[in-house]
């Protein structure tokens, strides 16, 4: 059962990712990415990381992607034009090379053995919170600083008279 679910969500994720790349209009790409995110969250649930799964949806789908969609709508973008610049051939070189790279990585990764003895742990909010506010308190505080800086940067960049 769980294998079937994995296969299903993996297929959804891959399909969505490919769709992100092939869509001409960036809004469709964004929507496809949301599907990808949801699938990845579902995979998180399969790994008992429920908290992260939910957080992933809230942060990514609920906030970041809304921002993307918002910006796309704000700028009212047309579909991508097929630009005929000097780098056009890269697309056709890139796909086989990417596949080759995937093959190489897969071959390497295939030999990875997860230690089956250690018990799977549940990513509950409690477990994550406990770790986050003890072992990782400094990075956690620093991320707040990062967010603040990003906030100010965004405000400055988005100003009209830049």
């Amino acid at each position: 059962m769980i294998q079937i679910l994995f296969m299903f969500f993996a297929a959804v994720a891959l399909g969505a990712a490919i769709n992100v790349l092939t869509q001409k209009h960036v809004l469709y790409s964004s929507l496809s990415l949301i599907v990808l995110l949801t699938a990845v969250s579902a995979l998180f649930v399969l790994m008992q990381a429920e908290f992260l799964a939910v957080i992933n949806v809230i942060v990514y789908a609920g906030a970041i992607m809304v921002l993307f969609v918002f910006v796309i709508m704000l700028l009212n973008l047309p579909a991508d034009e097929e630009s005929n610049d000097r780098l056009r051939w890269l697309k056709f070189a890139g796909i086989p090379m990417g596949l080759f790279l995937l093959f190489m990585v897969a071959r390497t990764v295939w030999r990875v053995e997860g230690s089956a003895t250690t018990p799977e742990i549940a990513g509950t909010a409690q477990a994550i919170g406990a770790s986050l506010f003890t072992d990782y308190i400094l990075p956690f505080e620093l991320t707040s600083l990062l967010i603040l800086i990003a906030l100010m940067g965004a405000v400055v960049f988005a100003k009209k008279d830049l």
């Binding site: 429920e50 949806v57 809230i58 789908a61 918002f70």
Partner: protein, 338 residues
């Protein structure tokens, strides 16, 4: 046959619950629309719908039939795929959140240890329906409505989420059922142990953000009739419009249910009578509380005028959010020292 029931009891029970809850919810949603119209009429001193059935009680059915039979129009130059997708995207999250709401001690479909976050995650997806609908219509009012809606919902989601953190700090769990259970009993024998008493600031923020989050008056800038015709669903008609409409009411019910669970003790209430009554009473209490909440919603809609968009934003960011944060700080301080 009985073997089948015995071996698959869990699943069958689950299906029964699903049918009961969703059937009940859908019916309730339909009648909420009627209730709203009636209450509005009452406030405005007019009869309201009273032609279809006694006291207009069959009005929702008539409405539904009308929606189904209407012509399906699609604006020219609209993005057809997204145009059809939008109401579905709007509807699904709205209904999905009911799957974790406990209507009674046993009357719930699922209860995970992150139910609350699950609801927030699901409702945060609801904005896509609005945004896509507005954009796909390829029309100026829907677009503006959609932009307003997305900005507004993003902004108020913050205070909404932060307002319940106080409750979480007190009840120490993210499971909705456990939160309800933590509110059992009374203080001093007569005050129910509801979170609304220690968390009245959070409740206040929650109610205001909830109204904004569901795009209801006085925060219905996204569909304000006088400015934007009907906002993001201006170009929708028939069943697609009905789905938007139902999604909005579903969201209202979700927000009310959450408020009830978080602040008003959920299905807790006085228990009496024989066992069959005791089985049904919690749900009755729960529904009653939600109804009271919905009544508040409608009363507010009927009495308070719409505010301006900049006021809305300023209120969200500069008033509600600081209050919510202050509440979190205060609560955590008190929790820490006690």
């Amino acid at each position: 046959m009985s073997e089948f029931f015995n071996s698959n009891r869990e699943i069958i029970l689950l299906f029964v619950k699903m049918i009961v809850i969703f059937g009940g919810v859908m019916t309730a949603l339909a009648y909420t629309t009627l209730a709203e119209r009636k209450i509005m009429a009452f406030v405005q001193m007019r009869p309201g719908p009273n032609r279809v059935g006694p006291f207009g009680l069959l009005q929702p059915l008539a409405d539904g039939a009308k929606f189904l039979l209407k012509e399906q129009t699609v604006p020219g130059n609209a993005n057809v795929f997204l145009y059809y997708l939008a109401p579905i995207v709007s509807m699904i999250p709205a209904l999905l959140s009911f799957s974790v709401i406990p209507f009674g001690p046993d009357l719930k479909i699922a209860d995970t240890n992150v139910s609350l976050l699950f609801i927030f995650a699901i409702t945060s997806l609801g904005v896509y329906g609005i945004v896509l609908g507005g954009w796909a219509s390829n029309s100026k009012y829907p677009l503006m409505g959609a932009m307003r809606a997305s900005a507004q919902m993003l902004s108020y989601e913050l205070s909404l989420t932060l307002s319940v953190v106080g409750v979480l700090l007190i009840s120490n769990t993210l499971s909705l059922n456990s939160i309800v259970l933590s509110q059992q009993g009374t203080w001093l024998g007569f005050i129910p142990r509801w979170n609304i008493f220690p968390q009245f600031i959070g409740f206040f923020v929650y109610v205001l953000s909830g109204i904004a989050e569901t795009n209801r008056l006085p925060f219905d800038l996204a569909e304000s009739e006088q400015e934007l015709v009907a906002g993001w669903h201006t170009e929708y008609s028939g069943m697609k419009f009905a789905m938007f409409f139902l999604a909005e009411y579903a969201n209202m019910v979700t927000v009310s249910a959450l408020a009830t669970i978080m602040f008003l003790g959920g299905w807790n209430g006085p228990m009496f009578g024989p066992w069959w009554l005791q089985m049904g009473l919690p749900t009755v209490w729960f529904v009653l509380k939600i109804s009271g909440f919905l009544f508040l919603y409608m009363l507010i809609r009927a009495t308070i005028p719409r505010i301006r968009y900049d006021q809305l934003m300023r209120f969200g960011w500069k008033v509600l959010l600081p209050i919510a944060v202050a509440n979190v700080v205060l609560t955590s301080f008190i929790v820490a020292i006690s």
